[in-house]
Each structure stands twice: as C-alpha cells, then as structure tokens.
Symmetry: C2
C-alpha cells in the first residue's frame, strides 16, 4: 500500500495463521519489493514538504478521521484480529477504543498547539557590548518515520497505533512495516488511514504500509536515506539489531525501540500483612493478562523475610494451579516460551512451584502457566534470571532481607516499570529502595499493577536500556510526540516569514515562553 | 582532579604550547591512569544518589558559586588562556562573561523549576470500564555525564562550559576530559568548580577533571559503565568515532556531539542591490572571527546571477587581500587548514580569488586568509566542497540561478545554521528555499551572521547529522538541559512520597500541566 496505490509486484507470499486452530488464513500477502519500498519512501519524502507544514487543525482533523474510519469498520477489524491473534474479542474491542482514543488525544494536542514549545527571546537593540537579535524557536517534524507494528497489540501498537499516531501528529509522513502475525488486521487499519489521507485532501505519500514475513523490508527501511527516524516495538534481539543499523548509517537517525522489560514488583512487609492474598490475585491477573504477552508484564516478584508472605504465596500457587490454557500469538513466541520455561526448570537454584494443568488443547500455540521460585542469593548471582519471558509465567524471589532488596535493585537493568506494594510506613522505611528504582525505570507504580498503560499526558512508557533504546523518551501518552520533533530557531525574522506559532500576535493562542516567562499573551 | 583529590599517578606528561611563540608552557600535566578514571566515575556514581536529588535552589546556588569563583580568578584565567590559545584578551574576557552568564542562566532555570515539565493526570475513580489511577511525571537526571572540552572556546565550551553547566543544572555529576590544547586554563576552571562543590557542601564526586594528550581517557570514559551520557564538541571524525563507541556499548547511552557545519549563506538579489558591500564586510568579519575557528563560521556563500553581485565580490576580495595573519589554536588545526587549502587550490573547478599577504610571522601556527570561488555546477557535482574547514577561509559560489539555489539546498547535509540575506520581497520570492533550509539546520538567520550564538531560552545550536549526533538537541541555551534528563512517571503515589514538583500543593509554584491544562495553581 504505497500511498494511494496497492502493489503486488512481489513474488513471495505469506498468510496469517489462526493461533487457536493453526489454520492458514486467506488472502495471501506479498512482501514488498525493493522498488515498492523505494516508492513508499520517496512518496513520503515528497509529501513531507506539504504535510510537514500542515496546521494543527488540519492534522487534528486527519487523526479524527482515521479514528472515525476505524470505528466504522470496528466489527470487521475485531473479527479479523481475533482470527489472527486469538486475543478475545472484548480485549480487541477495548484495544479499538484505546486506539481511537489515542488518535483523538493527539488530535487534541495538535489542535491546542502548545506542544511545539514555542520560545521567543525578544531583541535587545541597546544591549552592550553588542545588540541582541530577536530569537524564536519551536519544534518542527523530522521527516518520514518508519514504524514497525508489534505482534502483541494488533491495533494499539500496530499500523494505526501509538508510534504512527504520534509521528503523524508531529507532521511526519509514516511508512509502516506491518507485523506478519496479523497482516489482515494491518491491511484493514492501513486502508482506514489511507482513506483518511484521501478524505482530508493530503498528499498520498503521508502514509504507506509494507508487508514482509521476514526482515528484509524492515532493515531496508531503517537504512533508507529518505527515512529520518524509526519507531519500533518488539524483542530485544530485533530491536538492538535495528538500533545498531540505524546508528551505523552514514547519517545516523533517531531510533526509538521499546524492547524488553521484566517489570519487578516489590511487596513490602506492611502490604503483605494487610492484603497479601489480594495482591497475589492482582498480580496473577497482571502477569497472565494477554497470556503474559504485555511488555509491562511483572516477571519478577520480590518478597521480604516475613511470616505474612505465606498467605501471598499460597494464594498465588493456588491460582496458577487452577489456571487453564493460554494461546500465544505466534509459533515464534510459543517456542521461545517453551524453551525459556525448560531452561528455568533445569536451573539448579530455581524451583517450579506451581504449574497449570495442561488441558491438552488441540492448538499448537497453547501453553500452560508456570510459577517459579528462587532466593535472593540466586538472583544476585545470575543476571539471566532478569530476562524477559513472553508468556504466562513469573518468578517469585522470597525471603529477601532489606539489604537483599537494595542489592537486587542496584543491579537491575533498565525496565519499563517497577512496582511497590506497601503501606505509607513501608514507603518511609524503604525510601532508599524507591530512590534506586527511580534510576532504573520509566514508571514507578504504587499499590497497583504495571499492566494497563494509560494513554494520558503524564504517562511514561519508557525506561533506560534495554527497556528502550533511548530512556529519554516515551512511546505511550502525549509526550510520545516529542520523539519525532526537533527544535528549529528563527533569528531576526520578519513577522510575515515566521510560523504562526511564533508571530507576535500569537494567532493560535498557544502557551509560549517569552523572555523566559510562560504566557498566552500576544507580544 | 578526582573529586577533592588531585592525582598524578600517571607516567605520561604533556604541556600546553603558546601558539604565537611555539613555546612550551609549564607545568606539565599527567594523563589520568585507568585507576584514576575509575575513581572519578565511581565517585560520580556515588555522588549521584545525593546530587540527583538536590533541589533547584541548591543547584542554583552551586552554579552561581562556580560563576563567582571563576570571576574571582578571571585575570589569571584570561592570562593563561591567552598564553595557551593566542586568542586575544578582549575575546577571552567576553568568553569569561559568557561562561558566567551561562552558569547564571541555568541557575535561574533550575531555581524557577518549571523546566522539569511536571504533568499530572488526576485519578478518575469512577471511569468505566476501569478506574484511572493518578499519574504524574517529570524530568529526572540521567546520572554521571562525561564532557569533552573543546579547543576553540577554552572557557565557554570547555571545563565550565555549556555541556558541564547544563548537565550539572539537570542534577547530573560531571567528569570532564580536558582539551589538551589548554590544560592550564582547564585546571583553573576545574578548581573553581571543585571549590564550589566544597563550598556548597556537595559530595566530592559531583565534579572531576581528567587530562590526557591522546584519546585513551576519552574512549575509556565513553565506554565506562558508570557514565550515562556524553557531551562532546569537536571534529566530525572524533565525534563520529565516539558516537559509534557509545552506541556499541552493551548498554548504549545518549551521546550528544556538536561536530561539523559549513553554515551556508544565501545572499538574495534584493539584499545585494540594497547593501552588497555591507553584507560582504559583515561576512568577512564573521568567517574570520576567532581566526575562522567557530563552529558557526560561514564556509559557503551563494550569490545569484545578478549584476549587483559585483560590488559584493569586490568588497570581499579587497578585505581578504588586506587582511593580516591569523594564529590557529593547535598544530593539528593548522596542518589540517594548510592541507585543505592546498586541496582546494588544486581543485579544477575552484579558483583562489584572494589571499592575504603572508607577513611571514615567526609563529609556526600563523596562517593566512584565502577566499575561494566556484560555480553552482561544481558544487552540485562535488559533495566534498560542503566540508567544514576550520580557519579563515570561505567559498563563494556565484552566478546561481533560482533553480541552482534550490537544487543546492536540497542536497545540503545537516548544518548548525543557514543564513539568508534578503528583502521582504526576496523572502516571499524564495519561500521554497527557506522551507528546504529549515529541514537542514537548527537555526535560520535572517539578515545577520551565524557567528555569535546567543545563550538564551530560544537558542538552538544543533541541527541534523553531521552538524550534531542528534538533531533533536541543542548544546547552547537553556534548552540544552533537556539532553541530560528523562521523564519518570509516578503512578498511584501518596503525597508524602512524591517529589516536591508533583505534590498537590505545588510548593515550588512551578508551571505544570494538570489534566492537560497549563497552570501554576495547587490542586
């Protein structure tokens, strides 16, 4: 889908697969050829001259139109996504709502307009020894952005997901590489965007969608001279490979990957005493949500040396033992899960304390839930135990002393989130733990669970490497727009040649920093 | 200078050199050993637990103390810098003022406090289908930052320069690698900072200063596990090498290099007609300022096919022919300059149209000014002509048609600045040229000159690669602080455990985004 044109020049074809039945889904999809990819990138570049200068109002209308187009095909979209991913329909309904809500949130942001961070330092013609010129700056788009759809959120982090939405909101044309696990869903979402491009009278190249079952199209996109930034959600291995590729270009480009996170949870003594079994139930819901295929899945749970830990552990074991099957999204995820579970089962320092009965579902992608347990010494010795396992499993680390918790926190890699369950007294008692965790993650959760990432203004879905490729960014929430923008300064410009955002009269009524003071006033 | 300790464990010693006389300057400086470097990085890490949580008021007092300490040794600093760099004393006086002004600007920013971009999305306990938790976020520091001093601004972009200041303002400890061309100046500035650390009762590791005449200390710093970000100003070759090193770490870190820029100037027909000779005089002042060793030096000047170009060219040739000698900063810069000039002189498409008489100064670092000329076709064929040459030279490209100018702009690499001289009518006529240039640079200058970079809120000293390693950043002005900070989100936190910036009562009175609206009110 190159601009308004649908190409099928490729020879290689691939199909979606129903994870529940293992059935191949029609129709087939063609991997994009090099010429098709060049065409998409070139059209994106051509369209940038116009789309990069679209007003907030125009971009807002476009994003709202995408949302409306998605809603008008919601039934079809959910049906197809359900076939391709085996995610339950209510979840997919929720994800559609989220996707459209996210489009409308960014529409609001660009319509309001203050996100550009306009700054004006007025001229000081009488300054000594030399006059100061008039200096104004604001954020401007980067150019064509390549977006990689993720497998685990076929709508909200895929073709019309957060990366695409924030890039488009910022004024950047987008070329999406669809995830091969849900090509039909991708096509439907892609058409909704393409139709919105047409409906809004925007240049065709503002949006293209490329298919590929392998890595060729993705790597070629990251290396393409016309591509000026990348948004990626996926595995650490793939993310790092593409990140290195982006960095090794003759002209390295910003590369934003959200990759790998184990999202440690610390249950402190007061919380265990007050509501141990409730936390266990909430945690179980969290690490099995979406079959444990969320980037914010809590994959490690730390428990103090405390008699009250027993009721927590009993509850958790009971829930795991009673659980049914889960269907994973792809054969790749399933085989990784099975392999990781086996490795962990053989680990001399780790016990498998509860396993859901395998109902022997017929699906090749069915797996069962496993709960592991180890002690703090083992975690401190084995960095491998920090690693993310996609699927319904978690690792309890019990009998941790206060010093163990601090030592473990100090050696954590970057994660998207860390969670603390505690009382106010626990928080005071463990202020040092909190201070360490703050340097390791993008989001600290108190008395909640890390899954369920709100799309809001204050959300941070990021964190130091390897959680992301650039811990200074978020891929969820309205701050995601900042990834695809850069400041541009206009010195000594006459009013007529300035962007609306920087004119004295402040025609858009946005917040600006004028001589260091925030104001919405005209000058 | 590792925290409060001055080490001299190294065996290798090097000296400053007076560029005017070639004389070696006492005392010698020891290259830091691996142990000294580890000590500096480890102390920086240790100090981060305290300094990363210092209040804006504390950091402001610290930055103001550094400025006061520098002012108290200004005479000694300027004397030594003059010996080591041959830059004239009035310029060094100005640079001292700039350096102290920059420290105080960042003090203001952190004392005022709104720079952290606090955002609060209040809980919605009644939201359907699930309640929304309370979500708050703000910028937090990254951790120890390595800073590379630049040779061409021995004060403002060196030990106590913009990178150090913005990193410290953000709450990051700093380890500086001094530039070997001005070790004595570096030591004086380093002591001023170290004394301020002590005066303000901060942990020793907040600041360290390492010396090295080679590349070993620098590369080890960029690879050091304790270092979490890097600020660099220097050549494209060195910048790219260190950038690749930062990207190839097991945990890649943000790397901000300001590297290479030719700062194209476009003189449009109306401006030529109205004030050609004046522009020529201004341009001459700009490309020879600091002996042409400014990163914003205009290294290419484009002139239209226009009879009025003659008086511009005559004036420029006359000024070049009448110029005296310039002393470059280092033997490395001198030999590069001489080699680049020779290469350009031999270029079949380029003419050397004016050369200052060589006064045969005795200094080994004296060079003379050269003005080159070529046509648009030659520039379009030879990308090498875009390259930065440090030193007093520029390249005129004359007889450019409108289409030539657009074609040349389209194939420009990233630069720090682009300048347009024109009338209001020129601006309307060449709006498409302006639109292209905006995508290539960090700062557009109208009817001015790119040298002289104001340290203000709206300044952008950045631009797409290779001007910088990350075109989304600026290394000058108060926005430079954003390089060394990342957003952290606090979900469901009780008031007592929140940072001051995010408490309901807004005790710091800062601007915050509450439920999407900017306000300084308490909640």
């Amino acid at each position: 889908m190159i601009g308004f044109h649908e190409g099928a020049a490729g020879t290689e074809q691939f199909y979606g697969v129903n994870p529940t039945t293992g059935q191949t889904l029609q129709p087939g999809f063609f991997a994009a050829t090099k010429e098709e990819l060049d065409g998409a990138a070139e059209q994106a570049f051509q369209s940038f001259a116009v789309y990069g200068r679209a007003s907030g109002r125009e971009k807002g209308a476009f994003l709202r139109r995408i949302a409306a187009n998605l809603e008008s095909i919601a039934d079809e979209l959910i049906e197809r996504a359900n076939q391709e991913t085996a995610l339950p329909k209510p979840r997919l309904q929720g994800e559609t709502t989220r996707t459209c809500g996210q489009l409308r949130l960014f529409a609001q942001v660009v319509e309001e307009g203050s996100w550009v961070g306009a700054r004006i330092d007025r001229a000081q013609p009488d300054r000594k020894p030399i006059p100061r010129p008039d200096i104004r700056s604001m954020l401007r788009p980067l150019g064509p952005v390549a977006v990689f759809g993720a497998s685990n959120f076929p709508l909200a982090f895929s073709v019309a997901g957060g990366d695409t939405t924030s890039a488009l909101a910022g004024g950047n044309p987008v070329v999406v590489k669809a995830h091969p696990a849900h090509p039909g869903t991708s096509e439907l979402a892609g058409r909704a965007i393409r139709d919105a491009v047409r409906d809004c009278g925007l240049p065709a190249g503002v949006f293209s969608l490329l298919f590929d079952s392998g890595t060729q199209v993705g790597t070629a996109l990251v290396k393409h001279a016309r591509v000026k930034a990348v948004g990626f959600t996926g595995s650490r291995r793939a993310g790092r490979a593409l990140m290195d590729l982006a960095g090794s270009r003759p002209d390295p480009i910003p590369f934003f990957a959200e990759m790998s996170s184990t999202n440690p949870v610390f249950v402190l003594p007061g919380a265990l005493r007050e509501r141990g079994p409730d936390i266990a139930a909430g945690l179980h819901g969290s690490f099995t949500l979406g079959a444990g295929q969320f980037c914010t899945k809590p994959g490690m749970v730390f428990l103090p040396e405390d008699a009250n830990a027993r009721s927590f552990k009993e509850k958790l074991e009971q829930l795991v033992n009673a659980a049914g099957d889960y269907h994973l999204l792809t054969e790749g995820i399933r085989s990784s899960y099975v392999e990781e579970i086996r490795t962990r089962q053989k680990h001399p320092g780790v016990q498998s304390v509860a396993t859901a009965l395998n109902s022997r579902a017929e699906s090749a992608l069915a797996v069962c839930e496993v709960l592991f347990k180890t002690g703090p010494a083992c975690v401190l010795r084995n960095t491998a135990l920090d690693g993310e396992i996609f699927g319904p499993t978690t690792l309890m680390v019990d009998d941790c002393s206060r010093e163990d918790l601090l030592a473990i926190a100090r050696r954590l890699e970057g994660h998207l989130t860390a969670t603390i369950h505690g009382t106010d007294e626990d928080l005071r008692e463990y202020a040092d733990l909190l201070a360490i965790l703050e340097t390791r993650v993008g989001r600290l959760v108190f008395n909640g669970f890390p899954t369920g990432v709100e799309v809001s203004h204050a959300m941070v879905h990021g964190g130091p490497y390897p959680a992301t490729s650039d811990g200074r960014s978020t891929s969820v929430g309205s701050q995601a727009i900042f990834r695809f923008a850069r400041p541009v300064c206009y010195q000594g410009f006459p009013q007529a040649a300035l962007p609306e955002e920087l004119k004295d009269s402040n025609p858009l009524g946005i917040w600006r920093m004028v001589d260091g003071q925030m104001t919405r006033d005209r000058i």
